[in-house]
Amino acid sequence: MLDARIPSGPINEHWDNHRDSISLVSPANKRRFTIIVVGTGLAGASAAATLGELGYRVKAYTFHDSARRAHSIAAQGGINAAKNYPNDGDSIHRLFYDTVKGGDYRSRESNVYRLAQLSVEIIDQCTAQGVPFAREYGGLLANRSFGGAQVSRTFYARGQTGQQLLLGAYQAMMRQVDRGTVELHTQTEMLDVVVKDGRAVGIVTRDLVSGEIASHPGHAVLLATGGYSNVFYLSTNAMKSNVTAVWRAHRQGALFANPCYTQIHPTCIPASDEFQSKLTLMSESLRNDGRIWVPDRAGDTRLPGDIGESDRDYYLERRYPAFGNLVPRDVASRAAKVEVDRGKGVGPLANGVYLDFEEALRRLGQDTVRERYGNLFDMYHRITGESPYETPMRIYPAMHYTMGGLWVDYNLMTTIPGLYALGEANFSDHGANRLGASALMQGLADGYFVVPYTVGDYLAPQLGEGLVPSNDAAFVETERQVATRTERYLSIGGSRSVDWFHRELGKVLWEYCGMERTADGLRRAISDIDSLKEDFDRDLRVLGTSSTLNQSLEKAGRVDDFLQLARLMCVDALHREESCGGHFRVEHQTDDGEARRDDANFSYVAAWGWANGHEPILHQEPLTFDHVKPAQRSYR
């Protein structure tokens, strides 16, 4: 039974009480501690900047050539905050409630409450940094509503909110680089965590340009390395996004929580051919004004403009009159799959549904639509060659975000003391489904406001203790393992490329562990993955050497870890005999085809322990709901 170390008292006082009771490190002593931050996206950069400002010695690592390139940059739609500027009834409690409900009652109440509280400060912080959020003519900040919310609480910077928030955090971090409190290592990939006497004491990295493997000691290690959607091969994530840092930590003893909670985003551009390398997201803010429909009749190949109103099925508006096109992501995604599976898919491969702006263009005029969505329409046009001003967009769900991740307690510490996980890399706040515009909020809450406090509580008792030297046996042995692994990929000398294995893995997962899962399918997937992993170990071909930039070699390590993770995802999905949020087991659904939870048996976090290649070991963190009463979610 896992102890999340949730503070006592009324939930709205948890965070304040906790901050008041945890240990502090005095300003003069902070520089005596070295903190390693891996990943410089929203969570990592904001943590590195803040810890540097506080006076800690921070060492930050990114595999990009610049910290500004992390995948947070691609988030389009916005960031939620309970500011209630529009005066439409929002509050911290309501944001908390919506997030717990949206997560299908599988998140930890206390964490979510803290997230809602901190959301307010994030907007203040980012505005002070110069993030150019959208404004009204009076000069005050603008808000919009976003998928799954009945209030307008989303702040945005055109369709580039993630970019602007990341640049704010990146710039704050670069300021600390200039001041000498943050030491930034670019083009450096973390390949293992070093654990000594049960504590995280540093990391081992590979310099992607020179191939050099090196040790970096730290008093604490913060992983902010994002999610694992790319395990599906095709996803909306950037090509380099991977699970390696998290998976290596897992193999060193950190529990991996809820790996089967993956989010399919409803509004992506459908795949156009077999060479497709990734899927492109179209912000779900488009659902505010776009209407989703399919032809009434299966196999209707007429052009959308030739299909009259009476021959169209606006299926979300029909099935969910209260929320219409704004139902949460998991609901919208599954509904699209139902229509396409019925043969009503549109486009050359019949693999999409329409997202139509005809009504919005009539109601708002082209100028307003362009102002709201111009850059998204242009992007769609560039990719598909079709203009959404003239013909409806075609969209289909795609893998987008992973709610699962390293198990962390209230302090964001994993089960390895001294090892923390922030942002998408942890599991904590979104339950089984994340609401739109909440990922940016969580990444920044963790980095700016949570970990800078909680890490001090771990460090304070260690005052005066030096770093474990990099020639310590723990480092030497970990370096040796990393070097052996790297050389092994080069020495297999098989016949198939890394990408081939990645694509095959993606097909298995999408088929059996994607939008819908069955016990039979999952069992099949586990055996398919096992044999794919055997093939990988025997038949992989990576050319070149380990002493230069070698992108295939980098990818080999990532795909190897994806293969192991994929298996755990299927094991978790198979064990969770219920449907909840993004985890939809066909065997467990209501008469209306909605997810049916089993609160009596599965109201817990499933945190898996690595067992050296044997069957993973399940640990549980029971979830209690004292403030939001679990109910069958309804968006009708």
Partner: protein
């Protein structure tokens, strides 16, 4: 489509490079340019040759990782489009395409088509930020910002740091990148306290790494985000003023 590619190959920094020719058959017009390269690489690996190294990540035109000189044009023939968003329908069957890395001494070649754009980070370090330590921020709506100002700041902030402006410039100048960040921050009320110090340090750091601007204007059409040359004018004005402003009077209207 059947294409002939002439690709710059270079084994490492400071090593002599060369053009190699590859035939790319069976290219679909809906493929992106980078997917075309993926396919070429897959075939190279099958044939036992090392794949072409090129930088890329988000493939949505926002991370700024990708950047190729395609037939001598930064990011290729389509305006306002990063390499990753360029699709093969912009090319014709039988075309020969020349693919090179960014050409600028400030961006040394790491391997093949990959360059090191670390010099951009040096400019940001020098002042491309607003000093607002976490926790010290005032309530967000305490400072109203005129919508026109905010929109202009956003236009400048849209820069993705890809380096196309430098690659397109005959002088290898870094003005458009630097000016975009100066304009983003110097236009906003939040950026005023550091305004003169910012522009001074950023411009002077830029000059350490990059060539000089002589108003060719090649950068603007090469920019995938349409960053305007006007920002350079704003930066030049602020830089000049930074030398004569009495900063002790900065709090006065």
């Amino acid at each position: 489509m059947h294409l002939t590619l002439r690709v710059w190959r270079q084994d490492g920094p400071g090593v002599e490079g060369r053009f190699e020719t590859y035939e790319a058959a069976g290219i679909h017009q809906d493929m992106s340019f980078l997917e075309m390269l993926d396919l070429v690489n897959e075939r190279l690996v099958t044939a036992g040759h090392e794949p072409i190294a090129f930088d890329h990540d988000c493939r949505e035109g926002i991370c700024g990782s990708c950047g190729l000189m395609i037939d001598g044009r930064a990011h290729g023939p389509q305006g306002s489009t990063a390499t990753c968003q360029l699709h093969m329908r912009e090319f014709s069957d039988g075309d020969t395409i020349v693919i090179e890395p960014w050409r600028a001494t400030s961006f040394p070649i790491v391997r093949d088509l990959v360059v090191d754009r670390g010099a951009f980070d040096r400019i940001i370090e020098a002042g491309g930020y607003i000093g607002a330590p976490t926790g010290s921020a005032p309530e967000a709506n305490l400072t109203p910002v005129p919508k026109e100002t905010s929109d202009a700041a956003m236009d400048a902030a849209a820069c993705i740091g890809c380096g196309a402006c430098v690659a397109a410039c005959p002088n290898g100048a870094g003005q458009l990148f630097t000016a975009a960040k100066v304009a983003h921050l110097n236009l906003l009320p939040q950026g005023q306290p550091e305004r003169w110090m910012r522009v001074e340090r950023m411009v002077e750091t830029m000059e350490e790494y990059f060539g000089s601007c002589s108003n060719h204007g090649e950068c603007e059409p090469a920019c995938p985000k349409g960053i305007s040359l006007d920002n350079i004018a704003l930066m030049n004005r602020d830089y000049l003023l930074s030398k004569i402003r009495n900063r002790k009077l900065g709090g006065q209207r």
